[in-house]
């Protein structure tokens, strides 16, 4: 069994703060007995939560059962107050991957397995792993930065400035200053408006698939197909983000009242139904211009 008493990242002794998270936890009887204490902390995103669940019994890391992590993850999600659509999507996507992994472990592979789906699952898993590692990396980096800030805060810089005798010759600091510049500076520092709830597509800008494209596809196919499952809508999509884009397009259509979405229960199969008739397909596209550029 591996133990992780030593953590690689915090090699600078001066800078490291006590690595609470990685201290061996109090001995646990066995992984099978893991009980789910309800965590009161808030998790900053799905990776944060997943990392926490996996690493909280770090000493037992090799013993940890995926299925327990999946269950704990689902429990956490259920207790969350997910009002931010974007965040909720991320949580659900990862939950879906986890559930799929769990299923794959529990169920014997039947004869008619789909190689594409299998490869897709591995890809998902690799992606998840990569993102977990990235998350962990920056988490540790953040801790070190925090420690550096603490140390830097021990010193105070001299800010006394010029002595009076040099003031006359010092340059005019108001040169070029205008009321408008002043206002801009004020607004910059003081206008922290609370973010309005919105469907943000920020995290999909990096890929070629755009929501506009997805909307176009959906509005051309949905009116004729009537009721269709989300799984069918995303059939053949290999990139996770493409699925997200498709999902967001569906949500956009739902928001605008063009489709109805049904889901029998948590994590149940989504069914999408076109409600607006064929005539309005073009309108749906027009309404989506907020995603351009």
């Amino acid at each position: 069994m591996m133990s992780f008493v030593e953590q690689g990242p915090l090699t600078k002794p001066v800078l490291s703060k006590p690595a609470l998270e990685t201290e061996p936890a109090a001995p646990v009887a066995g992984a099978s007995e893991v009980t789910y204490k309800v965590q009161t902390e808030t998790f900053e995103g799905p990776f944060d939560l997943l990392l926490h669940l996996i690493l909280r019994e770090e000493v037992e890391l090799y013993e940890i059962n995926l299925s327990e992590i999946v269950d704990a993850y689902l429990v956490e999600i259920e207790q969350m107050d997910l009002c931010d659509l974007e965040t909720a999507t991320e949580f659900l996507l990862i939950a879906a991957t986890l559930v799929e992994l769990k299923v794959r472990r529990l169920m014997p592979v039947d004869d008619e397995f789909d190689l594409d789906a299998e490869l897709g699952l591995w890809e998902e898993r690799d992606l998840l792993l990569a993102r977990l590692l990235e998350c962990k990396t920056f988490k540790d980096a953040a801790k070190t930065l925090d420690g550096m800030m603490d140390i830097a805060a021990l010193v105070v810089p001299r800010r006394a400035g010029l002595e009076d005798r040099f003031l006359d010759i010092s340059p005019d600091l108001l040169a070029g200053m205008t009321g408008v510049k002043l206002r801009r500076a004020f607004l910059r520092i003081a206008s922290a408006k609370p973010a309005l709830p919105s469907v943000s597509l920020l995290h999909v800008t990096d890929i070629k698939a755009s929501v506009a494209d997805a909307l176009e596809e959906l509005t051309s196919s949905l009116p004729t197909s009537g009721r269709v499952s989300f799984r069918a809508l995303t059939h053949g999509l290999t990139d996770k983000l493409e699925v997200v884009v498709r999902f967001l397009a569906v949500l956009e259509l739902y928001k605008q009242g063009y489709v109805d979405i049904e889901q029998p229960g948590v994590f149940g199969e989504l069914t999408v139904e076109w409600m607006a008739g064929e005539l309005y397909a073009d309108e749906a596209l027009d309404g989506a211009d907020l995603y351009e550029g």
Binding site: E44, M148, L162, R188, A192
Partner: protein, 214 residues
């Protein structure tokens, strides 16, 4: 003649001593860190000489156990109180405590520090959550700022860290950040994580055993 001497040959001891005093005087009256190029300009000496002077001064203060130190922070030299006297300085200095950053803000800041220039979307993607609010806080605090625009379509704003960020961390430049490689999880942890998220043996292929990637 003298001018030629100053530019061609090594500066005389007197020149160096005077320059050293000038550096002390200038840094003392400045409100912000003074870049070595500025000191070089004012003293009419090469930047390398100025750096040597500053380093010697700094070492001298340290040797003499001064209560202050000369440090290169955020691209310039400044006087600051010695960390060992923090207790006394704190007692004297009014409030001024900077509000602590939340964990979310710190992690986003770390991402920006190491990945700059980086767009809001890219930072959100790494964190798995929207970073809008956090980013606004960091911007307001003056730790990050818009540094460029993505040349691609959409021209996303690209963010980077500010000199104030460097000051808060006590760094001369972003190059002095501890290398990100130090934080990459150890091989053992990677292996363990991989194991936890293992997919059962694939039904068909035998060539999967050694290679984890498809």
């Amino acid at each position: 003649m003298d001018e030629e001497f100053a530019t061609v040959g090594p500066p005389s001891l007197e020149t160096l001593a005077l320059a050293s005093r000038a550096v002390e005087a200038i840094v003392m009256v400045s409100t912000d860190p003074v870049p070595d190029v500025v000191l070089a300009q004012v003293t009419e000496l090469p930047v390398l000489t100025i750096r040597a002077i500053c380093e010697e001064l700094a070492a001298g203060y340290e040797d003499q156990n001064r209560g202050f130190e000369l440090k290169e922070i955020a691209g310039g030299w400044r006087y600051q109180s010695h960390g060992e006297l923090a207790e006394y300085v704190e007692r004297y200095v009014r409030e001024g405590q900077v509000a602590r950053l939340s964990g979310a803000a710190l992690e986003t800041l770390a991402i920006i520090a190491y990945k700059q220039p980086i767009s809001r979307a890219q930072a959100s993607a790494i964190r798995g959550v929207n970073v809008d609010g956090v980013l606004r806080t960091l911007e307001q605090r003056g730790y990050v700022e818009e540094v460029a625009r993505d040349p691609g379509p959409g021209q996303a704003i690209l963010f980077g860290t500010t000199t104030m960020f460097l000051e808060r961390l006590g760094l001369a430049s972003t190059k002095d950040l501890p290398p990100l490689g130090e934080f990459v999880p150890s091989a053992a942890m990677v292996e363990a994580l991989e194991d936890t998220l293992r997919v059962e043996e694939p039904p068909l292929s035998e060539d999967r055993s050694s290679d984890g990637n498809t």
